[in-house]
Symmetry: C2
DNA sequence: GCCTCCGATGGCACACTGTGTCAACGGCGT
DNA sequence: ACGCCGTTGACACAGTGTGCCATCGGAGGC
């Protein structure tokens, strides 16, 4: 597949030379293709990296939506985050994913983009929660709870990347969720939940 | 001041026509200057908007650092976030700031950039907390707690912008912090605090 | 008063990104 | 063999951001 070879070449060069120091022309030259072809598969240089996480949001949303309604939101959210962690750290080749995560975290443009992606996913999760629990429209709980899930996710992922994959991301996630549990259990100070 | 006139013209055009639909050439033409001069004051089109929040991080950091060490972290963080809220909603002309916040939230590039800025501030606050409480090096509390502050801030700001400034951002912040209080009080499940 | 120095500005050229348009190539079935 | 169609590459263009240099104008020294 052309897009895969392009992505492979890109990731290798970006990780080796650094993001800003690598031009799209460098990438397509190394892959033996034209810049026009590159942009047929990837909207921008950022996209080659960010698109790797494309399905992550949908998977988290699906996991959250698939959890039983009777389950406490804290547990449903923890499962959704676990899906993300497994996607990153357990999927196929953890070392490769680690390299990508580190590239994103150390490259401001990529970090910015990935955070914005997360903001979209967070809104999705909040919508699922809001539909499940029927709270007053002005309740902050769904939005805050969804954000807390990403607090746990990002804390775990950053620590994982910072320790070169030494720390166990699932254990980190669980520790973070233990800490957040009381806030997630509150459901906005006595408002009625599902 | 040249930079101020440039910024004023830019904000007006960006808010009116939209970010992507406005070129730097449009801005400098409206301000009667050259593109070269624009880039002497602002590194990029994003910068004209994002630079408005430049001092926010430092102010939050200063407020947090200035709180008494004996104060519970939850309260210190709430004060730091209050500084940010007042900066946005109470500073001078709330309507103008509201327009900027809305512009940022509805423009992906700007939203991404502002989130990345926040990530930096969050790390700063976490460092302050880590220095204050002496926890084990692998403790997640400082990092998580600092993130929670921004969860509250963003939830309040987005709700504020979404309601066209109707909702009181300070009240929203307090409600969010009430919800997060139990997690912030925990200090990582029995680890010793300052 | 004139000259020099210096900061601010503008013009130009350049590298890079991203998009639209079109021509060329190559497999495929008829 | 022919035409069809999807893939590719070539070119041109708009937009961004930077380096370099010429220019202008004011402040201060002579």
């Amino acid at each position: 597949m052309v897009s895969e070879e392009l992505r492979e070449t890109a990731l290798q060069l970006l990780a080796a030379r650094g993001y800003d120091e690598t031009t799209v022309d460098d990438i397509v030259a190394a892959a033996g293709m034209s810049r026009r072809t590159f942009h047929r598969y990837y909207a921008s240089k950022e996209d080659v990296v960010i698109q790797l996480l494309a399905d992550l949001g949908a998977e988290m949303r699906a996991e959250l939506g698939g959890r039983p309604e009777s389950e406490p939101p804290a547990e449903s959210l923890r499962r959704a985050v676990t899906v993300a962690i497994n996607f990153c750290a357990g999927h196929h080749d953890a070392a490769k994913t680690l390299a990508v995560v580190r590239l994103i975290l150390r490259t401001p443009v990529l970090h910015a983009r990935s955070l914005e992606r997360q903001a979209g996913w967070q809104a999705d999760l909040a919508a699922v929660l809001a539909a499940r629990l029927n709270l007053p429209v002005d309740a902050l709980y769904p939005e805050v709870a969804a954000r807390l899930a990403f607090v746990a996710l990002n804390t775990a992922l950053e620590r994982w990347a910072l320790t070169d994959g030494e720390a166990d991301p699932l254990e980190l996630t669980d520790r973070a969720f233990e800490m957040l549990a009381p806030a997630l259990a509150g459901q906005g100070l006595g408002e009625v939940g599902g």
